[in-house]
């Protein structure tokens, strides 16, 4: 089925081998990291293993997911208008051209590459938002999203609340073509506090969750839906307290917050949502016609959310009038 909106038309994922968090904790402690929680605490949150790449380079991880999508575009005669690359880990180059060794092979030497940084783990939604605007002006082209992170040091894998896993993911965003319709999308950076004033930080967090709630409720209402119509919330693999708070403030049951990849790869920065989407489709957690949200939070008060509808090709045409 095609509709006159933007769709996620295809995706490709790569998750490296997983290692027990026990090993990651041990390595981090050796580097001087002081944990405020122990392994058992993490296990209680469903965190057991972390994805860790030990063989491929950062660029090889990207090639692994991008090449099937480029081949698909080639076969379908679709031009890639822009590449949006999201990387949360710190970049270690200035004017070194990271992509140059693959661009000619991909045939994308002249395609603009936006390297997103500040939206950190909510970059996915910033890309969806920009892609939607772009594709409305160039409906016959595609946007290629790439999210890839690879830690360079044991401390890159740890935070106080969640472990950060290596991964790469890519997806194509196209107009009027694909099975995952994008009904609405927004991303935002909220007020950031630049000092350690606890009261100000507390207030900022309250506002942050309030804004997430506003975005979700507004999207539901603007699309003539009710909270009960939302089948799932595909969120990024942040710790429980984040989604408990969002569930409480929006009225969406916590059981609908779907992040099975947390249990294997842990928080895989900008790949989480696509991993969770893949899981939802393959395990039939969403059915044709279902509405679902994707939701991400990032460093520095950034967050993003999108309302989608699952419309596979064999989905009955009788549903078309519902859009």
């Amino acid at each position: 089925m095609t509709t006159e909106t933007v769709h996620i038309s295809a995706w490709s994922l790569y998750q490296p081998d997983i290692v027990p968090i026990r090993n990651v904790i041990r390595q981090a402690i050796r580097e001087g990291y002081v944990f405020t929680r122990d392994e058992v605490d993490f296990n209680k949150e469903g965190i057991y293993t972390v994805a860790m790449e030990n063989h491929l380079t950062h660029l090889q991880m990207i090639e692994r997911v991008v090449e099937p999508l480029i081949e698909r575009c080639r076969q379908e005669g679709t031009a890639i208008a822009e590449i949006w690359f999201a990387q949360t880990s710190m970049v270690a180059w200035h004017d070194r051209n990271f992509f140059k060794s693959v661009l000619a092979r991909w045939g994308l030497e002249h395609v603009p590459i936006y390297a997103l940084e500040e939206y950190s783990c909510s970059s996915f939604h910033s890309v969806l938002k920009n892609a939607k605007i772009m594709l409305e002006h160039a409906p016959n082209q595609a946007i290629l999203f790439i999210g890839c992170d690879k830690g360079r040091h044991p401390l890159d894998y740890v935070t106080d609340y969640v472990f950060v896993g290596d991964s790469s993911a890519a997806c194509l965003i196209e107009y009027g073509k694909g099975t995952h319709q994008l009904l609405a999308v927004d991303s935002k950076h909220d007020k950031v506090i630049y000092d350690n004033d606890e009261e100000k930080i507390k207030q900022a967090y309250q506002l942050y969750y309030l804004h997430i709630r506003q975005f979700i409720i507004r999207m539901i209402k603007q699309n003539g839906l009710k909270v009960e119509d939302i089948k799932l919330v595909l969120c990024n693999n942040m710790p429980n307290f984040v989604w408990e708070t969002v569930a409480r403030t929006t009225g969406i049951p916590l059981t609908k917050f779907y992040r099975p990849s947390l249990h294997t790869g842990c928080h895989m920065t900008n790949s989480d949502v696509l991993f969770n989407l893949e899981h939802a489709v393959t395990h039939e957690a969403i059915a044709p016609g279902d509405y679902y949200f994707s939701l991400t939070t990032g460093t520095g008060g950034s967050f993003g959310c999108a309302l989608h509808r699952y419309c596979p090709p064999n989905h009955s045409d009788e549903m078309q009038g519902d859009y």
Binding site: A92, D95, H110
Partner: protein, 349 residues
């Protein structure tokens, strides 16, 4: 292919922030006095695991082009070796707070709908988010920010593309383009045979309605070596400069650029500048070179520093067009053709 603008794009209220202090090259490179030095040990691991040598890129055989500290007249600068005291414009602190304050106090950039922050250098850690910070200062979180990096000195070409699209969608508002660079340890200011990297920042108002300068076209022209920059030698650097020159020469032969009244180029290296002088002479386009900090590379803001001086000196008159050339050895060149409007306050005649 030249990016044809689907709507008009204007720049105005161009501001440049130059460091008020200068450091000797040794101070910059070793960062012994940097407040950021405390973060250095944390950052060392970036290099250990990725196979990148510390203080990358390495020096070019000790020959550094920069200003001699005893030269008060910057136009009389000379090629110095590392043995001589060399000064480099360097922000002593992170410049983002000061830029935000200056921009807000001027009152010319407030309530921007979009903020595009372009950079070549990287901040010390991901917790520093200059784009978010400036957007917050200018628009109280209503401003949509986008940080564009990993494109060398050509980031503003992507910035123009993004801003054009956003303002086309929202033509009642304005945006701010900011290009800010500060090299922090353990990154080096050395660039093989190139000029030392200086810290510099620019910001301006961007609108689809009016402004002092109209952007007539912008484009990136890829030109880079196959060799990974981590493995470069001085010879590779020179080869990359040669590639940039070739690309510029090819581009200048396009009729569109030949019509420019003025040529303003990024100060990348002495070899690049001498070749640009040759191309300018061949094409008959007037090359304007700034009088201060001629032998340092101000990265993405560099051509704007020269542009500002050209306007102040009366060299770039109303109704004239200028071609700004951005150059980055591992990316290629960026070409931005602008026209200075008849009325300095804005409206295109």
């Amino acid at each position: 292919m030249v990016q044809e603008l689907s709507s008009r794009l204007f720049l105005s209220d161009l501001s440049i922030k130059k460091p008020s202090s200068f450091k000797t090259f040794e101070q910059c490179d070793e960062a012994m006095e940097y407040e950021l030095d405390k973060m250095a040990s944390e950052r060392e691991h970036l290099f250990q695991a990725s196979g990148v040598p510390p203080l990358w890129p390495p020096a070019a055989d000790g020959h550094i082009h920069a200003h001699h500290s005893s030269s008060s007249n910057t136009s009389g600068s000379m090629v110095a070796t590392i043995a001589a005291p060399v000064l480099v414009p360097a922000f002593h602190e992170q410049p983002y707070d000061a830029i935000g304050e200056e921009a807000v106090q001027s009152g010319r950039y407030n309530d921007a709908s979009y903020l595009c922050y372009c950079h070549e250098t990287v901040v010390p850690a991901i917790i520093y988010m200059p784009g978010f910070q400036l957007a917050q200062a200018l628009g109280h979180a209503r401003t949509v920010p986008l940080a564009i990096g990993q494109h060398g000195s050509l980031a503003c070409i992507l910035g123009f593309r993004w801003l054009e699209r956003m303002l086309l969608n929202d033509n009642s508002s304005h945006a701010v383009l900011a290009i800010i660079d500060q090299t922090v340890y353990p990154f080096s200011r050395r660039h093989w045979n190139g000029y030392l990297k200086a810290d510099l920042a620019m910001w301006c108002r961007v609108s689809s309605q009016d402004g002092e300068f109209e952007v007539l076209s912008y484009e990136s022209k890829p030109a880079y070596l196959a060799t990974d920059m981590f493995d470069w030698t001085s010879e590779d650097y020179d080869q990359a400069i040669h590639g940039l020159v070739q690309q510029l020469e090819l581009s200048m032969n396009q009729g569109l650029y030949m019509q420019s009244d003025l040529l303003i180029v990024q100060h990348v290296s002495s070899k690049w500048i001498s070749q640009v002088e040759r191309i300018a002479a061949q094409t008959g386009i007037s090359l304007y070179q700034r009088s201060e900090w001629t032998e340092v590379n101000g990265l993405g803001s560099d051509p704007f520093l020269t542009l500002q001086e050209a306007v102040a000196m009366g060299v770039f008159g109303h109704g004239q067009t200028a071609l700004l050339v951005f150059a980055s050895v591992d990316y290629g060149i960026g070409l931005v053709r602008i026209k200075r409007n008849i009325e300095a306050t804005g409206n295109e005649s």
